[in-house]
């Protein structure tokens, strides 16, 4: 257990808002940060907007941005300080174009979901419970 910050990468403002609302309703204690695209996300992990401490969890839909999502994950996995981040792929895409590629990069979970508020809340609730039973290292 412990507090981890979570970085959500999605180019839809509405989705990010839905997540924030859900996190608040479920009373998730982990801090949620958001990035509108992979570039912004990277700068929050290792660039000019670097978050401190570095997020321990990333939520991303790799099916939305063609290959950018997978390239982003690749870069993370090849980075000494970032490679241990837990990545959860959250997707509402019918087509699972990048599922195999994501699984090859050892993501923690590939989660098909719907972003309607009731269903989103139940997803976030399960994820939150999971994040509460796992341990994180105390590295910064």
């Amino acid at each position: 257990m412990g507090n981890a910050s979570i970085l959500l990468v999605d180019n839809r403002k509405a989705i990010i808002e839905s997540f924030r609302k859900s996190f608040s309703e479920i009373e998730v204690k982990h801090t949620l940060f958001s990035a509108a695209n992979e570039n912004e996300a990277w700068s929050m992990l290792d660039g000019s907007q670097k978050l401190s401490p570095v997020p321990k969890i990333i939520l991303i839909d790799v099916n939305r941005t063609k290959n950018k999502g997978i390239q982003f994950l690749n870069a993370i996995r090849n980075h000494t300080d970032l490679k241990s981040i837990l990545v959860f792929v959250i997707t509402d895409s019918e087509t699972e174009i990048n599922k195999a590629a994501a699984l090859n990069l050892n993501i923690a979970g590939y989660i098909p979901m719907s972003f309607e508020s009731q269903t989103l809340n139940s997803f976030v609730s399960v994820l939150n419970e999971y994040w509460n039973i796992i341990e994180f290292s105390s590295q910064k």
Partner: protein, 136 residues
């Protein structure tokens, strides 16, 4: 949601802890087939020699004789056929070094074995909910 039940491999040397998992699975109605290996060497043998069907989930202890969990994990991640299996560490070790090594080898979660069975039941229930959410 995906109803097909995946195989689970438990890598654990302690007899009572194996009973713990089996009992907690049963109480939580987890019907997946559970295979057991007593340590890293045994687990690799089972996996590499096709003695068991390939599991999608591995529950891994760290402190084991012959080959510990981290060593096993290293070898597994270098094997083309095995490297994508989801690994959940379940251990008594609260050492930061073990957590760091485990996450560097991309485990999906690191869980401390609680003292009480009741707490363990809840953790397994949470795991079950999480597994049902994911498509493996």
């Amino acid at each position: 949601m995906n109803q097909k039940l995946v195989n689970i491999l438990l890598v654990e040397d302690d007899e009572v802890d194996v009973m713990n998992v089996k009992r907690a699975f049963s109480k939580n109605n987890i019907m997946n087939t559970l295979f057991v290996a007593g340590n890293g060497v045994e687990a690799l043998e089972m996996l590499e020699n096709h003695i068991i069907p390939l599991p999608k989930i591995i529950i891994l202890d760290i402190n084991m004789p012959k080959m510990n969990g981290i060593e096993f994990l290293k070898i597994m991640r270098e094997n083309e056929k095995l490297k994508n299996i989801s690994v959940f560490v379940m251990t008594t070790s609260n050492e930061d070094s073990d957590k760091i090594n485990a996450y560097n080898l991309n485990v999906a979660g690191y869980i401390l074995k609680p003292l009480s069975f009741e707490k363990f039941l809840t953790s397994v229930a949470t795991l079950k909910n999480f597994w049902q959410l994911c498509e493996l």
